[in-house]
């Protein structure tokens, strides 16, 4: 036994060293970004991009931007403050770039360098319309006037490349399409100036987001203190994520402290000794360690949610430890005592492994990670009970323990509820049928927005900024698919044509797509033809007469402006308008989704995507997978139970965890808890722990350590309810829902475990009574 213990201890040490090396050495990342929950499917990499993958890409892009809106009644004061503030934000570690209106002249030079050689291929819609309608003379007059205007961008260089001054009109139109945010905005006697910060791609995943937000808040406070009358607002996913994480962390820390103290007190009140507590911690700790080592060995990055869910199996592994620890010291040697509980322990492990193993069959990495963590963790906890706990000196439950007295009282009450096997079978059938119906009939709510607590100040700020920048309305966007980039650009132009009437009607605030920045070659060819025939052929000579330079018609064989690395450097916006082989059209202030959908009706390869709906659908799919896995696990558990205990008893044994799940589902529904993917995942915990309860009791039923097992199950219940029940007090809906569902389910599991395994003979003797014998 000592050898096995040493070997197992060495294994645990090796796992600890490996996990530490992986995580500290950066070989495995911990992803805390909520976006990582979506769109990371184990899908064919060569397959078409899913809506959710596009949503994830766009949200990831948008999530790298923070917007600060500064306002003041005096423009100069505002600009001075904004410049100072922008410098402070730029100096923060994690800030990649700052966009401040009026401070991007280098950018203008870059744009002119990109666009000027193609000036004759780029027409604003109004210029294009004039040329199409044969009104080229209007543009010629404008070009002439531009030569002598005091307000002009004319230069010797522009005159050579763009004598008809077409490019300023194109750029002016493009500026309008891009919307506000590039200039000072005046509203209601106040000036508003947006300062936009682009964040490093790894800022959030590296865990430095909290530090950045703290620095940004300090900069805001500083500039506000230094500038009387200055108002500020901020928005960006990073602020919401940090606020949410801080709140959740605070809640979980508070709950963990209370629960740990509670469990310590409970075990202390049972044994009056620290040794059992040490044993419990050893088993739980080895489970957590092995789970972590398994996921870091398999996955290149693990999600924090997977870690949290995996860690909740503490509620199962503590069952294993308590199951052994409550055995009386006079029940034989450690090996003898272990032998008594081993069948129940093994069956409990097998059932849980089947349940969590079913999750690994799902197509989502998140569920796979939870499955791997839980299975590895439970196997390790099981091994620790077998190999390590026997080395710890046994401590008996003290007869004067108040927990023991509570246990005896509850046993007496439960004994009065016991029913004949026939009644239990009927109840089992009712449970199974009702559970199946509940799974189908109780509606799910997969809206991701319900999971967060929300921060009133941030929500208010986001609303203000959206109003000022004209970014309200639905967050829908358009994806254009196609293997040929030019085909996609042409489709983008068709979408622009289709939606322009809606913009005129104010049913759509605006739109910007890749084809607005880089027209298709077809469109550029058309523009060249229009410019050549309409302007150069007709007015080239006349314009030459006014200039000290000869005007020559554009070279129709000249290179076209195309989306390549060069354009991507000059136009970083392209990253926001492109996603893995698809083009994206961003919509602003979309208020009439039906009209947009109708307008797009005849255009092929175009998909209108609503991010909240896409995300909700994704979580609905996750939830479905979780239910399928749960159903599969229940079926396997039923077969095992029947094989082990015979048909009647087996059905009753199986019905206990099934009933616990039903209890959790109906209880959650009654308390108004949303039936989401996460609460469905919580049902796995209910199932696994419920199965442990009933298997432990079934295995010890009518045996000499029956009452020890009952006490162990009660202690497990108290510790689990302490941990999960306190989660129900969290202010974060996601945490609260999970805690509530598990707490409700476990109470049901405890009752049903006793009720379904009621002794076949009068054997309700309490441990106190036994101790007195």
């Amino acid at each position: 036994m000592a050898l096995r213990a040493i070997l197992w201890a060495l294994c645990l040490i090796a796992m600890a060293a490996f996990a530490t090396w992986q995580l500290r050495g950066g070989h495995t990342g911990i992803d805390a970004d909520i976006l990582s929950l979506i769109g990371q499917e184990n899908a064919d990499p060569n397959g078409p991009q899913s809506d959710i993958a596009t949503v994830r890409h766009l949200l990831a892009n948008d999530g790298r931007q923070a917007i600060f809106m500064l306002s003041h009644s005096d423009r100069d004061t505002l600009e001075t403050a904004a410049t100072d503030f922008a410098d402070r934000i730029a100096a923060l570690d994690g800030t990649q770039a700052i966009t401040l209106p009026g401070h991007n002249n280098d950018r203008f030079a870059d744009l002119m360098a990109l666009y000027s050689p193609h000036a004759n291929s780029l027409l604003s819609p109004s210029d294009r319309e004039e040329l199409t309608d044969g009104n080229a003379e209007t543009l010629y007059r404008r070009a002439i006037q531009n030569l002598y205007s005091p307000a002009t961008t004319l230069s010797s260089q522009s005159l050579k490349q763009d004598p008809f001054a077409l490019l300023p009109a194109f750029l002016s139109d493009l500026g309008a399409k891009l919307g506000t945010g590039n200039d000072v905005i005046a509203q209601g006697g106040q000036f508003y100036l947006p300062v936009m910060a682009s964040l490093s791609p790894d800022l959030r995943s590296s865990g430095n987001d909290q530090r950045w937000v703290t620095g940004a808040n300090a900069a805001l406070q500083s500039i506000t203190d230094a500038t009387p009358g200055l108002s500020v607002a901020k928005t960006g996913q990073i602020f919401f994520a940090v606020a949410e994480a801080s709140r959740a962390q605070s809640d979980v820390q508070r709950i963990a402290i209370i629960a740990t103290i509670g469990i310590l007190v409970m075990i202390g009140l049972v044994f009056y000794s620290p040794l059992p507590l040490f044993g419990a911690l050893l088993v739980v700790g080895s489970g957590l360690l092995a789970g972590l080592a398994a996921v870091v060995a398999i996955f290149p990055a693990i999600h924090a949610i997977a870690l949290v869910f995996g860690a909740t199996m503490i509620g199962i592994s503590v069952d294993y430890a308590l199951h052994y620890l409550v055995l009386r010291s006079d029940a034989g040697s450690p090996v003898d005592r272990l032998r008594k509980i081993r069948p129940g322990l093994s069956l409990g492990l097998l059932t849980s492994v089947i349940g969590f193993g079913a999750l690994s069959l799902s197509p989502t990495q998140l569920l796979s990670q939870i499955a791997v963590y839980s299975v590895a963790g439970l196997v390790a906890a099981y091994c620790s009970v077998l190999f390590l706990l026997p080395l710890i000196p046994a401590r008996d439950v003290r007869p004067s323990s108040p927990i023991l007295k509570l246990h005896d009282g509850l046993q007496a009450i439960l004994g009065k509820t016991f029913a004949p096997i026939r009644v239990r079978l009927i109840a089992s059938a009712a449970i199974i049928i009702t559970l199946a119906l509940s799974a189908f009939l109780i509606p799910g709510n997969n809206d991701i927005r319900q999971f967060g607590h929300g921060n009133d100040a941030l929500i208010s700020d986001a609303g203000k900024i959206a109003d000022i920048l004209g970014l309200g309305g639905s967050p829908v966007f358009i994806r254009i698919d196609g293997t040929n980039p030019q085909d996609r650009l042409e489709t983008g132009e068709a979408v622009r044509d289709a939606l322009t009437p809606l913009i005129a009607d104010n049913r759509l605030g605006g739109m910007i797509g890749l084809s607005d920045l880089i027209p298709s070659i077809t469109r550029q060819t058309e523009n060249r033809d229009l410019v050549t025939t309409g302007l150069y052929d007709r007015f080239g000579t006349a314009l030459s007469d006014q200039l000290p330079v000869t005007i020559t018609a554009p070279d129709k064989a000249a290179d076209y402006l195309i989306p390549d690395d060069n354009t991507a450097r000059a136009l970083p916006e392209i990253a926001r308008l492109h996603s893995n082989g698809s083009d994206i059209i961003r919509l602003r202030n979309a208020t009439d989704i039906d009209a947009i959908s109708t307008a797009l009706g005849d255009i092929e390869n175009v998909t209108l995507i609503n991010p909240p709906i896409a995300i909700s659908n994704q979580f609905a799919a996750y939830r479905l997978w979780a239910w399928i896995a749960l159903g599969g696990a229940l079926c396997v558990a039923a077969i095992l139970a029947v094989l082990r205990y015979g048909l009647s008893t087996g059905i009753c044994v199986f019905a206990a965890p099934a009933g616990a799940i039903l209890f959790a589902v109906l209880g959650g529904y009654a308390f108004g808890i949303a039936q989401s993917f996460f609460t469905t995942m919580a049902l796995f915990l209910v199932f696994a722990i419920g199965a442990d309860y009933v298997l432990f009791l079934a295995e010890s039923r009518n045996g000499p350590h029956d009452d020890d097992t009952r006490l162990a199950v009660l202690l497990s219940l108290i510790s689990s309810v302490l941990a999960f029940g306190l989660l129900a007090t969290s202010s974060v809906p996601l945490v609260r829902d999970i805690g509530s569902v598990i707490a409700i389910g476990l109470i049901g599991a405890w009752f049903l475990a006793f009720w379904m395994t009621a002794p076949t003979k009068n054997n309700t003797q309490t441990q106190n009574q036994r101790g007195q014998e």
Binding site: P101, Q145, Y148, P150, T152, L154, S156, N182, Q546
Partner: protein, 211 residues
């Protein structure tokens, strides 16, 4: 993203500021130009030679203008091609010889231009000091000279490298130099201060600017 309107506004601001000096530039140590009252406007003629780098001959135009601290600037080119540019609190608008309006820039920020001009007319150089280093001197003919150089990091630095304005009672010459080597030389003449209202042909143009 593209500050084209902002750029145009910046250029226009410089043009405006140089034009605005036609009746301004009071300083303690140089002769003071005339001040335009809020109930007055300044009228005169201009000749603008636009020198483009690499071209032998400048683009020359001439015309007349009116400037009012409260109404804005009307820059009316008469030759070689008629056309008008209006800068007022509605933005920048061009009007061709057939009356077609082309709004180049629009926004409340352009209201600042007129306010800035008024400050200049009052001899208050402070608004300019935010964006320019200002050097003042007198010439041999006892005319005053103001040289405006964009400050390092100023938003206008990439479009304007230096502005030189000289004059006596009013600004008489403005040289506007650009980084690419181009420059505009503007000569102002026949200037006089008049009381509002503006002449009808100018007043009508301003009234229509916001439409």
């Amino acid at each position: 993203m593209i500050p084209i309107r902002r750029l145009i506004a910046s250029v226009a601001t410089v043009a405006l500021l140089t034009s605005s000096m036609t009746g301004t530039a009071r300083a303690d140590d140089i002769p003071a130009p005339a001040t335009i009252g809020t109930e007055q406007y300044l009228g005169g003629s201009f000749t603008m030679d636009r020198h483009l780098d690499g071209f032998d001959k400048p683009l020359t135009s001439n015309g007349d203008f009116v400037l009012s601290p409260t109404k804005g600037l009307v820059w009316r080119t008469l030759a070689p091609f008629p056309g008008t540019t209006i800068l007022d609190d509605h933005g920048i608008t061009r009007i061709d010889d057939q009356g077609n309006r082309d709004e180049l820039a629009r926004g409340d920020q352009f209201r600042q231009f007129v306010e800035l001009i008024s400050a200049v007319l009052a001899g208050n150089w402070q608004p300019l000091e935010q964006h320019f280093d200002i050097a003042r001197d007198t010439t041999e003919s006892n005319a005053w000279q103001v040289i405006l150089t964009p400050k390092d990091g100023s938003t206008i630095q990439n479009q304007i490298s230096k502005i030189t304005a000289t004059g006596t009672d009013f600004v008489e010459n403005v040289r506007l130099e650009k980084p690419a080597g181009d420059h505009d030389a503007i000569a102002l003449s026949g200037q006089s201060l008049q009381s509002l209202p503006l002449p009808p042909e100018f007043a009508n143009l301003l009234t229509g600017a916001g439409q």
